[in-house]
């Protein structure tokens, strides 16, 4: 008899623990949401004229567990800091705001489930996330059908806001720029700021990243009045680029654009210098690696590249210090996106004097010069892609040096 009771108890506890497991993800994020609410209440009580009433809820989807949780958690932490600041300053429309985070695990299916839960159960007015294009491409149609604005963070594929058929997802937006946008930045910066008029490009024809940047770059640079004197193609892994570089040398350009990933950049720049090409080298965020100056050595000295803004400006560096103090971990760039995401939505709600998802969507679409830690951004209503500041870096004596934030207009 005792045995039977024991085994029944054991079975029960097993079932309970299983249920605990399956509910674990939502449990922990619900916990995170609860703690945000608690800190809101605390700061609200501290303020002289605190916001009151039903909180306005903003959702967040990202990988809060698993391999990429480092970024997902950083985004959520950044949003919590923004919520703290907004509520301390009186909230939005007299009401406090609140962040509800759900775990999308960096997977499209889980991200869609998380988005549905946020909209149906938590009644959020807008959702921030994710940093993965694959997840946002799956989430975009859901946001459209439920009419809730979805603001991607660092997701960079053009398909996040405009589908394969070229149709705009009316409820999808993004904070970071697309890969090809860097082509515009480079074309404009090199012509306007560096003053070069004769350019050559070497493109990796096996990679959309490189061909996309090349296309935008050519358009921007020639529209400004520059000429492309040589356009060469190669493939990553070729290792020997001297055939193409010899042609480029004979065209005698002022500047050579190399929109490649850093390991190839090291080879291209070294071989170019060996062939006696002395012109300026310029690249995109594929260069963004501490390994590049080590691999390329003196060949890459004085070269410029653009990348996503990070902890470069004074404001962003101060924010990073604050983040480090509060969470006691090294800040990841994603926490800038989380903070800016909340602040962007708050600015739109204040402008529209409404927390209605439809009004927020209209406001997001017509954003002009929103200023955040990531710099200034405006939204192109036709594609929902931001035109925003990019950070310009220069490689100098083996170190990467931040030069300035540059914006295309």
């Amino acid at each position: 008899m005792l045995k039977k009771v024991l085994s029944a108890l054991l079975a029960l506890s097993l079932v309970a623990s299983l249920a605990g497991c399956s509910g674990g993800e939502t449990g922990s994020t619900a916990g995170a949401a609860a703690s945000t609410a608690a800190s809101d209440a605390g700061s609200a009580a501290g303020g002289a004229s605190g916001p009151s009433g039903e909180p306005i809820r903003i959702g967040y989807v990202s990988a809060l567990s698993g391999d990429s949780a480092l970024w997902g958690q950083a985004g959520l932490n950044g949003m919590k800091l923004a919520v703290e600041d907004v509520n301390a300053a009186g909230g939005v429309l007299g009401r406090p705001i609140e962040v509800v985070g759900y775990d999308g695990q960096g997977q499209p299916l889980d991200s869609v489930n998380a988005l549905n839960k946020l909209i149906d159960e938590s009644k959020v007015v807008a959702v921030v996330g994710t940093n993965f294009s694959s997840c946002n491409i799956a989430m975009a149609p859901v946001a459209d059908s439920k009419k809730i604005p979805l603001v991607a963070t660092a997701a960079s594929s053009p398909s996040v806001t405009v589908d394969e058929q070229g149709k705009l997802h009316p409820y999808s937006f993004r904070i970071g720029f697309t890969d090809p946008f860097q082509g515009r930045v480079l074309g404009s910066y090199v012509y306007e700021k560096l003053g070069f008029k004769k350019a050559a490009i070497i493109t990796d024809i096996g990679d959309n990243y490189s061909t996309g940047i090349t296309q935008y770059l050519t358009k921007e640079f020639t529209a400004k009045g520059g000429t492309i004197v040589a356009k060469e193609e190669a493939r990553s892994g070729d290792n020997d680029f001297r055939a193409q570089l010899s042609k480029i040398k004979s065209a005698n350009p002022d500047v050579l654009f190399i929109p490649w990933i850093y390991k190839d950049v090291a080879l291209i720049t070294k071989q170019a210098r060996e062939l006696g090409i002395t012109c300026q080298f310029v690249g995109a965020d594929g260069w963004d690696s501490q390994d590049l100056p080590k691999l390329a050595g003196t060949a890459i000295d004085n070269s410029y590249y653009c990348s996503r803004p990070g902890f470069n400006t004074r404001e962003a560096i101060e924010y990073g210090e604050r983040y480090k103090k509060v969470y006691n971990i090294v800040p990841e760039a994603e926490c800038l996106f989380g903070y800016d995401g909340v602040m962007w939505l708050v600015q739109v709600m204040k402008e529209k004097n409404s927390a209605d998802p439809e009004a927020i969507r209209d406001g997001l679409e017509n954003t002009k010069d929103f200023k955040g830690y990531l710099g200034t951004m405006s939204v192109d209503p036709a594609t929902h892609d931001p035109t925003r500041d990019a950070a310009i870096f220069q490689i100098k004596d083996g170190a990467i040096k931040y030069i300035e934030n540059y914006s295309v207009n």
């Binding site: 493939r235 020997d240 010899s246 042609k247 060996e274 060949a299």
Partner: protein
């Protein structure tokens, strides 16, 4: 412009030649394509890189170290894998499959041991160039071309002029008869693997110096293999000629047509050769292989 591209082509082809001759040597003796050959080159590059980063050794030391390391690895492959298969009297196909297994094992082993990162040799020479009219030739290219020429001339003399070479040619001609004549054929097999490995090792070090060192760098041996087929499988001189043709052709196609067409032309040439002259440019008869 044309001369510059020619120089580029010869410098690419020279390295292909070092690997291609190794293929040819082993094929002439065992009648199979040693797919692990590229990984032997990769190993040589890592040996040299490790020596240079640990001890700041000069170029010559690194080259010798890489060559010896690759040569020993090549003998190791022969003793552990190929010899056993031969002793069992298994078909040649088994040797080729074993070689593919070795190739995959070494690639992944290197990834575990050294990481998947691209690494470069610390600069041993100034990246200066020699200017000849409108042509610029990198110091590194001159050094690698000199190394290649020395290695290939020594190899040619060794095979065609020395007693050891006579032995190799005898075994290549017919290993069974050679063994009946009292020649210790296992010794010659080991010797050929050592030679092929050393050539691959020098190619690996030069490739690493000119480009970069990474676990899958041995894949370049596919081009070298095509070169050895083009020149005539089993013919060492043919392999050298084939390698130079492939190197120059690739550079010219990338330079004057489009690099998208480069591999298409190379592999197209292979198909044409196989159709028109299956034994290769310097097709060797069965009586005279090496």
């Amino acid at each position: 412009m044309f001369l510059q591209q020619l120089v580029n082509g010869i410098s690419v082809g020279g390295i292909y030649a070092l690997i291609a001759t190794g293929y040819a040597l082993i094929y002439s003796l065992l009648g199979f394509s040693n797919w692990a050959h590229g990984e032997v080159a990769m190993f040589g590059a890592y040996m040299a890189l490790t020596l240079v980063t640990r001890t700041n050794s000069p170029f010559l030391g690194a080259l010798v170290f890489g060559i010896l390391g690759a040569g020993l690895l090549s003998i190791f492959n022969e003793k552990v894998a190929y010899k056993r298969i031969r002793d069992h009297g298994s078909p040649t196909m088994f040797l080729m499959i074993a070689a593919m297994g070795i190739s995959t094992t070494y690639q992944n082993g290197a990834m575990l041991a050294f990481g998947p990162k691209f690494q470069m040799f610390p600069s041993m020479f100034e990246t200066s160039t020699i200017q000849l009219g409108s042509i610029s030739i990198g110091i590194l290219d001159v050094i690698s071309l000199l190394t290649t020429i020395v290695a290939l001339v020594v190899l040619d003399l060794l095979i065609n002029k020395s007693k050891m070479g006579l032995g190799i040619r005898t075994v290549a001609s017919n290993s069974y008869t050679a063994s009946l004549m009292g020649i210790n054929i296992d010794r010659y097999f080991a010797l050929v693997f050592l030679l092929a490995g050393m050539l691959a090792g020098s190619a690996g070090v030069l490739l690493g110096l000119k480009y970069s060192v990474y676990p899958t760098m041995g894949n370049v041996s596919l081009k070298a293999f095509i070169a050895s087929v083009l020149g005539g499988l089993g013919s060492v001189r043919g392999a050298i000629v084939g390698a130079l043709i492939i190197g120059i052709l690739e550079t010219m196609v990338s330079g004057y047509l489009s690099s998208g067409l480069r591999d298409l032309v190379t592999f197209g040439l292979l198909i044409v050769i196989l159709l028109v002259k299956p034994s290769g440019l310097m097709g060797v008869t069965i009586e005279d292989k090496a």
